[in-house]
Subunit: 213 residues, 2 copies
Amino acid sequence: MKPAVLYHTDQAVKTRRQILQVAVDIASAEGLEGLSIGRLAAELQMSKTGIFAHFGSKEQLQLATVQTAKAIFLEQVVQPALKSPRGISRLKALLENWLGYVERSVFRGGCFFAAASAEFDSRPGAVHDEIAALTKAWMDALREEIAFAQSRKEVQASVNPAQLAFELHAYVQEANCAFKLFNDKSAFQLSRRAIADHLVAASGKRTLKKSKQ
Amino acid sequence: MKPAVLYHTDQAVKTRRQILQVAVDIASAEGLEGLSIGRLAAELQMSKTGIFAHFGSKEQLQLATVQTAKAIFLEQVVQPALKSPRGISRLKALLENWLGYVERSVFRGGCFFAAASAEFDSRPGAVHDEIAALTKAWMDALREEIAFAQSRKEVQASVNPAQLAFELHAYVQEANCAFKLFNDKSAFQLSRRAIADHLVAASGKRTLKKSKQ
DNA sequence: TTGACTGTAGAACGACCGTGCTATAGTATA
DNA sequence: TATACTATAGCACGGTCGTTCTACAGTCAA
């Protein structure tokens, strides 16, 4: 592998960004292995070398693609949620933004990380490690938000934050899987209902149903 | 594609079975696309032609592999649960057997169908359709068992069977994903806890905790 | 003993893979 | 205007893929 050339010019940065935009789209639907350099070259009307030189190896291309997906995820899911106040409110925003990001097909193949996780969960390497780290960070974020909500009495003290995070994450993941496999949007409805009911239960309020607002 | 030869001799049936056993193992860990005929030939010390002739095409090999996985799943998860009486008891058995089948690594790559779903959810074809049909059948089985439990008053009338099936399925799927990605068995504990708590809630009994038995 | 048929091997095909070498047009610097 | 360097192209390599054609040893029926 060539030690990944220099490439610091404005144009090079722009080209690299264009490549990665297409790469993320392909990878989300056909996997990070299915993402081939020849395929990218054809799609971008460039030579294979032209693509390759920007990364130096297939693995580096995959890692850069994951970083690009991470940036999109942060922009689409996490950042908008930061406008909501910490605690149950932000937790709801994170989950709802996640569902929205899958529902409106930000990535052609559904959640990029769900697809990448399934693809790399049984093989070693830097790509696996990166995806595992990012997934863990997301789970940690959910758990910490729950813990914060608990400190504000928005969530009952008897709730185990890791347990609740596991369950909420399971709901959104399941929505993604069901939607992609059956191409049926009703999975989002089930997921939203599961989240809402569960959060009500965790809050301890019997049946709230805030009338308006 | 050659029209998949005749092959009805005892020996041919045996060979085919041996091939598929290895195929299922490879496919669960490296995907149905990663399952290559050359790889299979090397593993079985046969020629590529020797393998190929049994199926006629890669797609037929993949479909046969899915059928083999289905048979194993039925044997490991569904059949043992049929010993439990219908209703909440059998529902619990189905879920627990599923967790056990992942936990003891019946397939090297975790749940075969979870992996195959993620791999084929974004592409058309017979393999996708078969996997979707099998996944749907499993979901239907959960839902029907819940509906039966409801008819026996084991589950509250207010519960929507499809909703509960979605949530329970989400828990087991999440256990599989977390276990494979992080190689951490604690996911099973979280999953079991989620299932148990949820079934208690659905049964309507406030906090049962049957003392012994 | 002959002949048909079965299961497998060997070799080859065209296509695509990731990667490396070399050349070159374009740009920036001197 | 001459020089250095950047970003990309062209081409080729060895390898693997799914697939096909042909050959052949083994078995079984006549």
